[in-house]
């Protein structure tokens, strides 16, 4: 048993990922998406230095002014600069979106893969557990989390991960169930590979397509879920903000101050499209078969 060297091989070989990157570089839409995401992340990272105003700087006399030379994206009801708010909000939203989704992804993929691969009674029990978690009242769960553990951002990731992984697990399980009957899995089995290695090396990489697509859909919905949790008091607190919260506030005043909705909406949509393009590109890039047709 020498699984360490298996890993070193994976690192060293021009494996799936390296090839994927080569292929991804040829996909213009995906590159655009990636570029946009990197741009958004960079802006978020640099926000403390490049933001035109402080995110908490109020000017109550300048409340809710439309876009102008001073405030490119206008101001909110407290007279805070919207561009600044969106930049700061992006920090929270992107972080929540990526980390919480990563949590959901990790749990969901492993759980689903194990359930689907082992099958039988174990699968039945594991999936019933998913049913149970689906059915529990989310709101009470959140309220309780908040009270027991207090408020913190880590908890937010946990809470979001806790819901989002369920669906991921179901998708992966479905995939794995059809994969495990494939001959190459049987071949791996006949090589004497351990179950865990089979799952990790032979099963999971082959579920990547649907997983990536679902992930790109999950990230924006996680960002919106964060806003809801922040409403309940679990997430971030004013004067901090996030795109989800900005959109929520924006909806309230969409007739009076449309720019308060439109600009955060654009920020979220841009991310969404960038992710979608990148996701589709990645899915194709990670599927060696797509290169030839």
């Amino acid at each position: 048993m020498d699984s360490n060297s298996l890993d070193t091989m994976a690192e060293k070989g021009t494996s799936l990922w390296e090839d994927a990157w080569i292929k991804l570089r040829k996909n213009r839409l995906a590159l655009m998406g990636l570029g946009l995401l990197i741009f958004l992340c960079l802006v978020s990272l640099l926000t403390p230095w490049i933001a035109p105003y402080g995110y908490e700087e109020q000017d109550l006399l300048m409340g809710a002014t439309p876009p102008s030379a001073e405030h490119w994206l206008g101001t909110d009801v407290f007279g805070r600069d919207m561009l600044t708010r969106i930049m700061w909000g992006g920090r929270v939203s992107l972080m929540v979106g990526f980390i919480a989704t990563a949590v959901a992804l990790a749990i969901g993929v492993i759980y689903g893969a194990v359930a689907g691969y082992v099958g039988g009674r174990v699968d039945a029990v594991m999936m019933r557990l998913v049913d149970i978690l689906y059915a529990l009242p989310f709101m009470i769960f959140i309220i309780l989390l908040m009270v027991v553990f207090g408020r913190n951002l880590l908890l937010l990731f946990f809470a979001i991960g806790a819901v989002e992984w369920l669906t991921m697990a179901r998708i992966v399980r479905g995939q794995v169930m059809s994969l495990r009957k494939q001959e190459f899995v049987e071949a791996a089995h006949s090589l004497g590979l351990s179950q865990w290695i089979i799952i990790r090396r032979h099963i999971i990489p082959n579920t990547l397509g649907p997983v990536i697509v679902y992930t790109t859909l999950t990230i924006p919905s996680v960002m919106l879920l964060e806003a809801f949790l922040s409403f309940l008091g679990l997430g971030i607190q004013p004067p901090q903000s996030s795109w989800g919260l900005l959109i929520n506030y924006g909806v309230e005043t969409m007739e009076e101050y449309p720019w308060l909705l439109i600009f955060p909406g654009i920020a979220l949509s841009l991310t969404l499209f960038a992710l979608n393009f990148l996701g589709d590109g990645l899915r194709d890039a990670l599927d060696p078969r797509t290169s030839k047709d």
Partner: protein
């Protein structure tokens, strides 16, 4: 003028990787009552040629670049969609290779049968449902479906492969077409079934006087039915001649190569079996699967007895052929020996160690010693692993190589199975079927096994490739001192490779013996039938045999 005349047909595929000239200046003709065989390896353009006649190619990437295909005075390549629909439903019918996937699993066969009648674009030829049903039942009866009235309302999965192909034929004939195109109609079938289907096509053709285009990679298959043969290679026609001309008097090297590839005759090499050394001892092995479909409330559990009390020995160094038709349990037996299928009863010993009593962990070192080669080289390789990864995995896992010498080891394996070292970084889909099977073989021998169980390793391959892979296997067995259980439904292949043969039917062994002895003097009627069904690359005797049946 012939019924169909194809002249200078050119079909190109415009792919991301550039232009592929799939069909390049192909001409042939076929007339009523005549059978034209188009023979060639995969990628020779034979199927593309026929699909382009009925406008069934995906466009893009395919594009017809030139030529004509005049059917009954009208050029099929340029006619409009409505005209094409009329041709498809009334004049030209097609039978496809895989009857498992060519019938819609969601619709009853009866419904699929009558569709050309009830939805006929030509309103005057359209029939009512009851009439169409009558007609379909007659046809089903004619193609040899028993109890057609009842079977009319069954779904495709309720038919066996051969029966489905009969349904396909009935469907093709239902509108009395004048041209029937058969795209490898027997490749996916067992030999006995193949013989029946070929005979059926022949009979129907003679009765109706239709023209038939018969596509195959195997010259042996077409020997009995073809009047004319077109040999294609890499998109061009290599030779066109009547059947006798091709089989008996060809001057073309390529045609000769095709003929030579048909496995015929006894094994050339000496048996290396060590008579006194039993490697595998299978005793009274039973492998049952639960049959959910027949269980009913309160009744005892039902089982499918895939393997039902098999005992056999495999001597060290021998190649044991295991022959049987689909459903005979031969694959399950192979898997049971490898402990890949759960054994219900009996035992499997490897050098005296009872494998079925070991825990999965204890099995690991034994797994290294016995490997498997699977039938489908498409499915048995992980599509997301490069050849390098596929081959390196067993080496590293079993500690047969270390990160320092792994590259070298993998390259040696590539040499062993005759693959270019340069293609190490490629993915399975970038290889042809034969090459993939070489990768699979490479993976199997990577662990330096003593026993290899090869489950139909060549039946998905073209004849020419098949011959190469068989030679590779023989070569490796020799060099690596392997013992092999070779599972196949193709008796010619088994004869070519095995020292000893076991015939299996319905989960039990019905006959076994040294290969040549068994060929010369089969004891069981079943074995005799099997042997009789082997097609020969000899048009004259084949025609005689068809006339008999």
């Amino acid at each position: 003028m012939a019924l169909l005349e194809v002249n200078g047909l050119k079909v190109h595929f415009h792919t991301r990787d550039g232009l592929v000239k799939a069909v390049d200046d192909v001409s042939f003709s076929v007339d009523c009552g005549e059978t034209l065989a188009i023979v060639g390896e995969s990628g020779s353009g034979k199927s593309v040629t026929c699909y382009s006649l009925l406008d069934l190619l995906p466009k893009p990437p395919a594009k017809i670049e030139g030529g004509t295909a005049v059917f009954d005075g009208i050029d099929l390549l340029t006619c409009d969609a409505a005209q094409m629909r009329r041709f498809r439903s009334n004049d030209i019918a097609m039978i496809f290779q895989d009857p498992m996937t060519s019938l819609n699993p969601f619709i009853t066969v009866g419904e699929q049968l009558i569709e050309p009648l009830i939805y006929n674009p030509d309103k005057s030829r359209r029939q009512t449902r009851p009439d169409a049903r009558m007609r379909a039942i007659e046809l089903l009866d004619e193609v040899g479906i028993i109890d057609p009235e009842k079977r009319f309302d069954c779904y495709p999965h309720e038919f066996s492969g051969g029966m489905r192909q009969r349904v396909m034929i009935a469907m093709a004939l239902i509108n009395e077409p004048r041209l029937l195109i058969c795209d490898e109609p027997t490749t996916a079938l067992d030999v006995t079934i193949q013989a029946q289907i070929l005979a059926l096509i022949k009979t129907l053709q003679q009765k109706r006087n239709v023209a038939v285009i018969f596509i195959s990679h195997d010259l042996g298959v077409v020997a009995g039915i073809a009047d004319k043969v077109v040999v294609m290679c890499e998109g061009t026609v290599r030779e066109t001649n009547d059947a006798d001309g091709i089989f008996y008097r060809t001057q073309d090297d390529y045609t000769k190569k095709l003929l030579a590839a048909i496995p015929e005759g006894p094994k050339v090499m000496q048996s290396r079996a060590q008579a006194d050394s039993t490697m595998i001892q299978v005793s009274n092995l039973k492998t049952y699967f639960r049959d959910h479909s027949k269980a009913s409330i309160g009744a005892a559990k039902n089982y499918i007895k895939a393997v039902d009390g098999v005992s056999l020995q495999i001597q060290r160094g021998e190649i044991l052929g295991l022959v049987g038709e689909s459903g005979s349990g031969k694959s399950t037996l192979g898997r049971s020996i490898l402990q890949l299928a759960p054994i219900t009863e009996g035992s499997v010993s490897f050098d005296g160690t009872e494998l079925n009593t070991l825990t999965p962990k204890q099995l690991v070192p034994w797994r290294r010693k016995m490997q498997m080669i699977f039938q489908d080289p498409y499915a048995s390789l992980n599509p997301r692993m490069t050849v390098y990864e596929t081959l390196a995995e067993p080496l590293l896992y079993h500690g047969l190589a270390h990160s320092k010498n792994i590259d070298q080891q993998v390259q040696l394996l590539m040499d062993d199975v005759g693959l270019a070292r340069a293609s190490l970084r490629k993915y399975p889909h970038e290889f042809s079927g034969g090459q993939r099977q070489r990768i699979a073989i490479g993976r199997a021998i990577a662990t330096k096994p003593e026993l290899i169980i090869a489950d139909e390793p060549v039946s998905a391959l073209d004849v020419t490739i098949q011959a190469q892979v068989l030679d590779l296997i023989l070569n490796l067995v020799e060099r690596h001192n392997l013992t092999m259980l070779f599972i196949s439904h193709d008796l010619s292949v088994v004869r070519y490779i095995s020292d000893r043969v076991v015939v299996m039917n319905k989960g039990v062994i019905i006959e076994c013996g040294d290969t040549e002895a068994l060929w010369a003097n089969p004891q069981q009627q079943y074995t005799q039938q099997l042997l009789k069904a082997i097609p020969l690359a000899d048009p004259k005797s084949e025609r005689l045999r068809m006339a008999d049946s």
